[in-house]
């Protein structure tokens, strides 16, 4: 399968990249690691006139920590670099756990944190070749006017299938976005839109440039539980991230997020209310499991049935809470 033709833009600095984006507006697709975009371009899901390759923008690589001020991760930092970072492993356990489950080791050498955050939503009716999609009359998300997953509606249920964003949500991460009007910073929790087509609050000429992990979430206990069929390569079919701030056996603060069951990753509402002050035992964990399952709205967008995936959100949320407690 060949890629559709395009003109390649290769900026050497962020300023240059932003200027190029401003010039070409919505005609550009940004490529970093390429693991999400290029297979989709082979399937002609995207046929942009321009592709902007960020690999030359050196300033967006690397993990930096300022004592007492959290950690800053450049958007082009590969998932392998994050996985192998002692700092991340020690201080942001939930991210470490999540990042090491992404795809496969080689794909983690390519995929970037920025790419994982901006991952396109996925669906069995969408991530297919042009002919395949043609043979069922296309779908809402691309070239069509009907959703095969929920045929009555006009809503796209394609599923957000990133592993690191739920972990980042648990850490209260913020992201920096650069655009023609300068740089803005936003909590990651406000970045996602629960709609398989809209997906992100990101204008076509904007780039996610950095991720900030606050000092306040450092050294929280963390666990990420991922549902997949194979032990490697697969996207998540459901995922639960839990981060707990523990204080002599009791929960001081807590965040729980789920992924791969909705068009966006979600922080569970009221998880902190339910957990603060509690000893995270089996019973407490069970209740969190129920809460997580009630937030999950999986449909038949991927392998395994929605009912099973929802049930696993329940089980995994429980297990993640218990894993943090121990």
């Amino acid at each position: 399968m060949s890629l559709p033709s395009f003109q390649l833009l290769r900026p050497k600095s962020l300023d240059e990249a932003v200027a190029m984006l401003a010039r070409h507006g919505g005609d550009v697709k940004i490529v970093a690691g390429g693991t999400d975009l290029l297979p989709s371009m082979k399937q002609k899901l995207f046929t942009p006139p321009f592709v902007l390759d960020l690999r030359g923008v050196r300033e967006l690589y690397g993990i930096r920590s300022a004592p007492g001020d959290g950690v800053e991760i450049g958007a082009l930092t590969t998932l392998s670099v994050i996985e192998n970072s002692v700092l991340i492993r020690n201080d942001y356990q939930v991210l470490h756990e999540a990042v090491k489950t992404v795809a496969s080791p080689v794909l983690r050498n390519m995929g970037t944190i920025g790419g994982n955050i901006c991952l396109d939503t996925r669906c069995l009716w969408y991530n297919q070749s042009l002919l395949w999609r043609q043979s069922c009359g296309f779908c809402l998300k691309k070239d069509g006017d009907l959703c095969h997953v929920a045929p009555g509606g006009k809503f796209c249920w394609a599923t957000f299938s990133g592993d690191t964003p739920p972990a980042l949500l648990c850490l209260g991460a913020e992201i920096e976005i650069a655009g023609p009007d300068g740089v803005r910073r936003t909590p990651l929790s406000e970045f996602y839109v629960n709609d398989g087509i809209v997906r992100l609050s990101l204008a076509p000429h904007e780039i996610v440039t950095r991720v900030f992990l606050p000092e306040s979430a450092a050294r929280w206990r963390g666990s990420y539980q991922k549902l997949r069929v194979r032990g490697s390569i697969d996207y998540p079919l459901a995922g639960v991230a839990v981060a707990l701030k523990m204080n002599s056996g009791r929960v001081d603060d807590a965040r729980i997020a789920i992924t791969a069951v909705n068009p966006a990753p979600h922080l569970l509402k009221d998880a902190d209310v339910r957990l603060i002050g509690m000893v995270p035992n089996e019973e407490v964990a069970e209740a969190i499991g129920e809460l997580a399952a009630s937030t999950a709205k999986p449909l038949t967008t991927s392998a395994l049935t929605p009912e099973y995936r929802r049930e696993m959100v329940r089980v995994f949320a429980k297990r993640a809470v218990l894993a943090c407690a121990n």
Partner: protein
């Protein structure tokens, strides 16, 4: 003949370093590294097998790190050191890993083998004495449909031993 506007992009001149040699190439910006290696440089050791970045048969190393050449634009690799399976054999003889894959049945049909060479070589470069789990994990980027991976573990263990003893000594012993 018909000419279609915007259908074919102009070729660009790029320089690629592959297996220690520099090549000047005129390629379309949309061309994948795998296609440039196979079609323009006749380095057909790297294989295309999946189209969806899941199988690892096209794995090459860029600056010593294994990546999928089917998921990289060739033009993006300018200025970096690309190593393909053709660059693994040293000084005209089989690397210990290559010999061991033959001896222990790590390769059957062989189609996935070049990809495995590139990932395992990276594993051993960074971790000369990997545990069973570390080997298993490192192999999990590449799919093999023949071996069930079992004989690869033996081969990798043997390669580690052979490296330790020194390849030359090993050859003498074999005689």
């Amino acid at each position: 003949m018909l000419i279609i506007e915007g259908f074919k992009m102009k070729k660009e001149l790029i320089e690629l370093r592959v297996n220690g040699r520099t090549h000047e190439l005129a390629i379309e910006p949309s061309k994948l590294l795998l296609d440039v290696l196979r079609q323009d440089l006749d380095l057909t050791g790297s294989k295309r097998a999946c189209d969806d970045s899941s199988c690892g048969a096209c794995t090459v190393q860029i600056d010593g790190v294994p990546v999928l050449s089917c998921t990289l634009l060739a033009a993006s690799c300018e200025g970096q050191e690309i190593t393909t399976v053709e660059g693994v054999a040293d000084h005209g003889s089989l690397a210990a890993l290559q010999k061991a894959y033959g001896d222990f049945g790590g390769s059957q049909c062989g189609f996935c083998t070049p990809g495995f060479m590139m990932t395992v070589k990276w594993l051993l470069a960074n971790n000369p004495d990997p545990t069973e789990d570390e080997i298993r994990n490192a192999l999990s980027s590449n799919l093999c449909r023949c071996t069930g991976y079992s004989q690869m573990y033996q081969a990798i263990r043997a390669a580690i031993d052979a490296e330790r003893k020194g390849m030359n000594e090993e050859l003498v012993e074999a005689k």
